[in-house]
Amino acid sequence: MSHGKKIDWFPYLLLIPALLITLIIVAWPLVETIRLSFTDASMNPATHYVGLDNYEEMFSRRFPEVIARTFYWMSLSVAFKMCMGIFGAVLLNASVPGRTLARLLVMPPWIVPIAIGVFIWGWMYNGQFGMISGIAQRLHILSGPFEFLAYKNSAFMSTIVTDVWIGTPLVTVYLLAAMQSVPSDLYEAAWTDGASRMYRFRRITLPLIMPAISTMALLASIWTFNSFDIIWILTEGGPRNATTTMIIDTYKTAISRFRYGEGAARAVMIVIFLSIFSACYFSLIRKLSNRGGVK
């Protein structure tokens, strides 16, 4: 084994399986995507380098609109998820009878296969017979059947609601864990001083879970940005591209239309945005761990 100053190979040996899979399935394809984005790769086996043609073509085709839509979709979805998560965590943190059961019931949307949850929402959005349209008609909010996935704005909002439904449980449980790690003597001291519950929440809970909130918001943004299954199953990016986010656009171009080169250029744009998010995430983590804030 190792002697003196010789490099100890044992830890590297232990990393081989994980590294090998990650290199083959993630790292190499990532590099290959960048290479392909400069070619005219398609079903045709002969490919040529075409320089920046794919990028030029992409931006001439209303691509900025897709980027804007992606960020709009993501921001709304993350904002709703965070609000729902904070709302749910506060309620589940209250020491009332039945909270153990309530905590148990929060997780299912996250645990169930995403596609299956989305099938159910597909039915709920059905205009003629679905639950939402049905109840809205009964309450006289809607005067007649409304097909949620058939119109641009309602399809856009519907995909967001489903995405929020899937993402909320994790945000809730994560923030709940953060709230529970707030030392209880802080509350007791404030309580002895006569601070109201609202005051204690604003001045103790909220500041102390702020690192958890910002970490989660960033992670949720990344996951939401990458969201594919929900939109693909509900609308396939329609109607008239109203729900075509960057991921959907990439998939449609590369896999449905077999334009690998053009698709790869779109994928590279996604990677660029994801790197920016990741950089933010890592610098946030570093800042927080220097302060000894999060655990």
């Binding site: 994980a18 990650t22 399935i25 993630v26 709302f87 596609a115 099938f119 994790l170 990677v271």
Partner: protein
Amino acid sequence: MINRYRWWEYVLIYTGLALFLTFILAPFVEAFLVSMRPLDGLFSIPYRFITDDMSFDAYVSMWDSVPLLFRYMMNSLGIAMAVTICGLLAIVPAAYAFSRFEFKGKNILLGAFLAVNMVSGAVLIIPLYKVMMGLGLLNTYFAMIAPGTAFVIPTGIWLLRSYLMKIPRELEEAALVDGAGRMYTLVRVIIPVALPGIVVVAIATFIAAYAQQFIYALTFNSVNELNPLPVGLFQFFGRQRVVWNELMAASLVGILPVMFVYIFLQKYIVAGLTAGAVKE
């Protein structure tokens, strides 16, 4: 006392909880009700929750109308299990290395694994598709298992590493002093002691692998017999007039395995899922 609420606070809390849980659970209730109604009863106006012709018929007839349903379910379970086993084979040694050894590039490698979590499958799908096609691996289980495995590794390493760091080093030092080799120490000393942590990671991995069987199967597989449940149902019901009651019945049955795991092991799962996102 500090935790005593006034009556109106109870009302507020329970109303809030009721609203929150309605949003979370309404789709499941609706799916169950739909699965219980005959197809022509479904399309009734005005909308009603309960009708008097409810039955479990769809749960019987779905096996005939979707001939491969059982096959899809077994595929889903099989793929998720294969991903879990392959994942663990990579996760356990890697997490051990990260928790116990100081080596060059450790932090960069750890960060790199974490960064994998930020990449989505859709970004990598083009080269992966070309390679799978080139190697003749399209339409095999392998094409669905390998990408799935790569994406469960980072979280698994992260989870297990923090668990292993809590195990006292004296334990393996004692084994090493006794002359045991390092591989032997890992297999015979560390793994048995870390078993509870490994089980948590295995469960979290299984659930993730079961939940995320869509894009790879949709793209890399066109052989119906190999499809996991989500893609099988998506393509079967997408092709013709949707038989909603059977689709909902099949979906609910497909949910059962994870629900079963969840109800019995929920304490560990919630800890596992959140720790993956919380730690450091």
